[in-house]
Symmetry: C2
Amino acid sequence: MAAPRNARALARETLTREILDAARARLATDGPSALSLRAVARDVGMVSSAVYRYFPSRDALLTALLVECYDGLGAAVEDAEAAVARDDLEGRWLAACRALRSWCVARPGDFALLYGTPVPGYAAPRDTVEPATRVVRVLVRIAGDAWAAGRGPVPEPVGADDATVLVADARAYVAERGLVGPDAPTESVVRTLIAWTTLFGTVSFELFGHLERTVGDRASWFDAVALRVGADLGVVGRAADPGSGAP
Amino acid sequence: MAAPRNARALARETLTREILDAARARLATDGPSALSLRAVARDVGMVSSAVYRYFPSRDALLTALLVECYDGLGAAVEDAEAAVARDDLEGRWLAACRALRSWCVARPGDFALLYGTPVPGYAAPRDTVEPATRVVRVLVRIAGDAWAAGRGPVPEPVGADDATVLVADARAYVAERGLVGPDAPTESVVRTLIAWTTLFGTVSFELFGHLERTVGDRASWFDAVALRVGADLGVVGRAADPGSGAP
DNA sequence: TGTACATCAGTGAACGCGCGTTCACTGATGTAC
DNA sequence: TGTACATCAGTGAACGCGCGTTCACTGATGTAC
């Protein structure tokens, strides 16, 4: 499988990288749906038809970008979380959350590709779904460890329907990978998915301009959000624990 | 100020509507950033240059759409909330949340315009900010009424920084309109903003494909989320109240 | 080591298409006397 | 009520631009003998 590293292969590697980097730079200025092969070609100093030696179509380039960006974000979050001592649940949670925001804020074009309006007429193929789940899997792992350590989510609201069937797919997906023990309660899964949604919702509101004139320092605001959704989940300490369902 | 209702004025009104409706239909298929004056003109059976009698530029059309959509969503949420008895806080909250989702899910193109990737090269003018705040103002009002009725948010996490300065802008904006008494605590404002973010984050994840193979019935999932953020805020009952700061 | 052939990267022209915006025009509607 | 003029909606051609993709080609790199 190792490709021969002769002059041709090396040049191909370098130019593929240059095309991807130029395309990612374009995302930030033109937006994902206006990504243009011709503009990218111009940026790397090629004639537009030459790009077809590297990517068979604009859609293929989009797919490569999607995979690369999901993997970059996933790796950033995984690495930040892995650098914290295993028993420091709150530290792991905050590190993961902050890495998530930092990556996105530093790469607004990439963020728009991943979490903004889908590109009309483009359907992401299967290859993108596994990389897309790396972030939420980190969050799930921390929540699972918290549960195992006797720290659970806040109790569900009175009168709420049983959510077990709602999150059955998520639980099955995650259980296949051995991330959550079968004993973690539905409410923990629900709160993890809500935290995941809230974290990306907060970044989306920040980058898409909905926090203008609403919150001040955006990094501190994100921390405040991360702490609260972490507390609701049980990975961050709460002032007065109402006696959750944790063992 | 009342325009004369002669044949010309009536035709102008009708055609302006037709252009706006055709443009909103286009949003759903082509995406906001690919909105094209020529395509809209074709859809209403006009020659492209005729549209310039109604909107001086593509950007002006975008602005009109933004205002119309924010107002439509805002009115839908306000009306749903106003239809519930004032003392039924939980009912008002759920009605507002559900109206929010229903409006968006029925109009994915409009949602993408309002909360998706901003259109590159277009800067929304001042006229759009007031309509943009109608939804969050409804949420703030319910939270304020809950506080006045002695129901407050869950306690903030231990070790959290004081968030007062973070949300000072939001509080000032909302206080100007008499929506929150000066006694509502910072934590209530923080939790309201988080709820607002989470609700739109949930819709965004649903419409942009991030809940695929993760949660089942989307309407029930949204309800589950709305109940929980409502409970965190104090507008929905909690199983065991840890004794919040409510009076 | 040298030669013959195969592979591949990059070129430049072309295809057919769509875009926002301007402009001089025609013909209908509205207004002042 | 009728006439003269002003206003306005819509037309069609044109401007200069960009797009994705195909194709026959040149020339460099790699491989087999």
